[in-house]
């Protein structure tokens, strides 16, 4: 009975399952082989010593392709007996951070990392980064850096990273749209003028185009700090009598300056400017969905390269954040990336050499030109290369002129949490809260995080 019923289909399934078993077994064998092969196969002896440096860097990829390729070429010319290459992993911003943190927490080898300025304090305090102070002294190029940018790489009096390039945030506008509304760009420079411009633009523009952009995305604190700074305020200040550390940072962003700055943002929403929760990093300006936008200099990258020569005819740049009155000096936020060497690196000297080469003008400038970034070194910004940069990057001179007014964010370990408190305060104000209350609440939270409570 069994035989008759099961034989026919049985053979087919029997063979299917046998195949599956074979497959499982062979994968098992293959994997055993792949684990043990380094120990079993004979070492290929080569003429030159191969060194592979590992790096974790943040998107976009093209800038690293260019930098590493050119820098490695130089490095390999110097060491003819070695073949040096870089195995770099490129990921989006938060994944890069996750990966760097996991790798270094796991004490794995890593030779080079790109560090966002706001991570520096954390990574340095955690013991992730090598102290570069002695190497810097030998290198003797630190004086070439703009002071603000150089300070951004220092933590606890040690140099832990070098600010390789930067960006600034400024006011961009479409010339034709302003003309069409009979609006002069100068109007945008003061707070009152900013509001008046909005009213004028709303009357004259197509319904589909929004007059002025106001951000409400996760990085909104970055777009608020310039107002805080221009009014004389600051985010944090050193204060004595800390419960455990003697003196430590104390939140002061809820000062009069902070409240006034936040009120300016609130007033924008009250006259009808809509806070934008999604951010497309200038794409929305390039697509002409906004007539005026405060955005970083990376906005240039949203325009195809072939449009750059004529770009200054179409879009305008006012190198500033609007000021409350003509007597107040403007301010802006500087961003960009730092380069650092993890403590776990087994090739620190080589990694350091690579970094110095990457920072050499002749290697760095081609990348800056391609991506539209701004230099942190005076010799590039003001020296021989400046002509080339000025002729390629639209509004280069104006953007550079903004650097002295620019500040970086604090590079203390607790900064990410403080930024989150500030972000919540701004969001609450957008939804109708009182600026003083919101900022005071945020400062309470920050005090707790900084150990004052």
């Amino acid at each position: 009975m069994n035989g008759n019923r099961f034989n026919q289909p049985l053979k087919k399934y029997y063979s299917d399952i046998n195949i599956v078993c074979l497959y499982v077994f062979s994968i098992f064998l293959l994997s055993i082989f792949s684990i043990f092969s380094p120990y079993v196969l004979p070492e290929v002896v080569s003429q030159e010593e191969t060194i592979i440096l590992t790096a974790i860097v943040a998107e976009p990829k093209e800038r690293w392709d260019l930098l590493f390729e050119n820098a490695l070429e130089e490095l390999n010319k110097k060491y003819t007996d070695k073949k040096i290459s870089v195995d770099y992993s490129v990921l989006p911003y938060s994944d890069t951070r996750t990966q760097i943190v996991t790798t270094l927490a796991g004490r794995s080898d890593l030779d080079l990392v790109s560090i966002d300025q706001i991570w520096l304090g954390e990574f340095a305090e955690a013991g992730f980064l090598t102290d570069l102070t002695d190497r810097i002294k030998l290198w003797n190029k630190s004086s070439d850096w703009y002071e603000n940018n150089w300070q951004g790489g220092i933590y606890d009096n040690q140099v832990k990273g070098i600010w390789a390039w930067t960006d600034v945030r400024a006011l961009w506008y479409w010339k034709d749209l302003l003309n069409q509304s009979e609006l002069s760009p100068d109007q945008l420079k003061t707070w009152n003028g900013y509001w008046d411009s909005f009213v004028k633009l709303s009357k004259n523009l197509d319904k589909k185009i929004q007059p002025i952009h106001l951000t409400s995305a996760n990085h909104v604190p970055d777009m608020w700090y310039p107002y805080l700074w221009m009014l004389g305020g600051d985010i944090l200040e050193m204060k004595d009598n800390h419960p455990s550390k003697g003196s430590y940072w104390f939140p002061v962003y809820n000062s009069e300056a902070g409240i006034k700055a936040l009120e300016f943002l609130k007033n924008q929403t009250e006259i009808g400017i809509k806070p934008q929760i999604n951010h497309f990093w200038g794409q929305e300006f390039a697509d002409k969905k906004f007539a005026v936008m405060l955005e970083g200099s990376w906005l240039l990258g949203q325009f195809p390269r072939d449009q750059w020569p004529d770009l200054e005819k179409k879009i305008g740049l006012i190198p500033m954040f609007p000021v409350p009155d003509n007597k107040t000096k403007t301010s802006t936020l500087m961003g960009g990336w730092l380069l650092g060497i993890p403590e776990t690196s087994k090739h620190k000297d080589l990694a350091w050499e690579l970094i110095t080469i990457m920072l050499e003008p002749k290697i760095l400038v081609p990348m800056l030109l391609e991506q539209g970034y701004l230099p942190t070194q005076k010799s590039i910004a003001e020296g021989n290369y400046s002509k080339e940069l000025a002729s390629t990057i639209p509004y280069y001179d104006e953007l550079i002129s903004l650097i002295p007014y620019g500040k970086g964010r604090p590079n203390i370990p607790e900064y990410p949490q403080i930024a989150d408190h500030i972000r919540m305060a701004i969001e609450e104000v957008y939804h109708g809260a009182d600026p003083k209350q919101a900022l005071d609440q945020a400062a309470e939270n920050s005090m707790y995080v900084l150990g004052w409570r």
Binding site: R97, G127, N278
Partner: protein, 296 residues
């Protein structure tokens, strides 16, 4: 005589699975429990870990944001699971009927789930956008007002629930399809001869025979909804005004954005407990139902 000998066979069959699961997951679990009772952050991870006992748990229980996130998780889970299960069951059953082209249709139906969460999140973020989004565009072109899908704190969580339904329903369809195929058509044929209507056949044959699959399915999608945060992370990052920060997202942000590994581990352990409790509840409810039915 044979009763005294322990039969090793069942354990042998389970050995490969248990071996992999235990060797990969036991250490992380213990690590997390250890971390949750110490002060471990990005700053201290390479240095000394201070023992803090249950302080992390105490801090969490006195954190109003934690309770807010639990409420949001409730919305998220109830919304996602009920819709995913309801729609999934309906479609699985419909595709089980004698109609042509079920293979192709089923394949089309699972495409949303075959796209990774990152892509799904980006696509929906885009579609919901005020400036680039097609949804508001369509609404405005037929004369309705645009909706702040992701910018309105009251609506944002539901917009994400919608995206999760779009994304996750295919799993239920697949899972229940497997279950439906274990039911012999003869049972249906017998019922038809007896004059049972479609509805009667559904409730008295399909559902009871699918019971185990349904329970398992509900447990799985509930656990996933509780632990899932990819959509929230990419679509809103937790905002606006914390209105989309489910407990799982809160855990991720604590660990990886604020560098507090003990914070993340603490919340993670609480999530595991939540999952276990819910599963317990599910099993109890369904077991009670059977005993009710049996009594009938």
């Amino acid at each position: 005589m044979q009763k005294n000998k322990i039969n090793v066979e069942p354990y042998l069959y389970l050995l490969p699975s248990l071996f992999i699961l235990v060797s990969l997951l036991l250490f992380p679990l213990l690590w997390n429990i250890y971390v949750s009772t110490h002060d471990v952050s990005i700053l201290t991870i390479l240095k000394k870990w201070d023992f803090v006992g249950l302080k992390n748990f105490y801090d969490l229980f006195s954190d109003p944001k934690f309770y807010e996130s639990l409420k949001l998780t409730l919305f998220f889970v109830v919304g996602s699971v009920s819709a995913q299960f309801g729609i999934g069951l309906l479609l699985a059953v419909l595709l089980n009927q004698q109609i042509k082209g079920t293979h192709v249709l089923r394949t089309l139906l699972i495409i949303p789930w075959s796209v990774s969460t990152v892509i799904t999140a980006f696509s929906f973020k885009f579609m919901y956008d005020d400036n680039y989004g097609i949804i508001n565009y369509v609404l405005e072109s037929i004369g309705l007002d645009a909706v702040g899908w992701l910018s309105d704190p009251n609506i944002a969580i539901w917009s994400i629930v919608l995206a999760n339904i779009w994304y996750g329903t295919p799993f239920t369809i697949l899972f229940l399809t497997a279950g439906l195929h274990s039911i012999s058509p003869h049972l249906y044929e017998a019922a038809i001869i007896d004059g049972a209507t479609k509805i009667k056949r559904f409730f008295f044959i399909t559902i009871p025979l699918l019971r185990q699959f349904i329970i398992t399915n509900l447990i799985l999608i509930t656990v996933w909804s509780i632990n899932f945060f990819d959509l929230q992370l990419i679509m809103t990052g937790g905002g606006p005004l914390f209105s989309t920060t489910t407990t799982s997202l809160y855990m991720y942000r604590e660990a990886f954005e604020f560098g507090s590994f003990s914070g993340g581990a603490t919340i993670g352990i609480l999530l595991i407990v939540m999952n276990l409790l819910l599963t317990f509840v599910y099993v109890k409810i369904f077991n009670r139902k059977t005993s009710d039915q049996n009594e009938k």
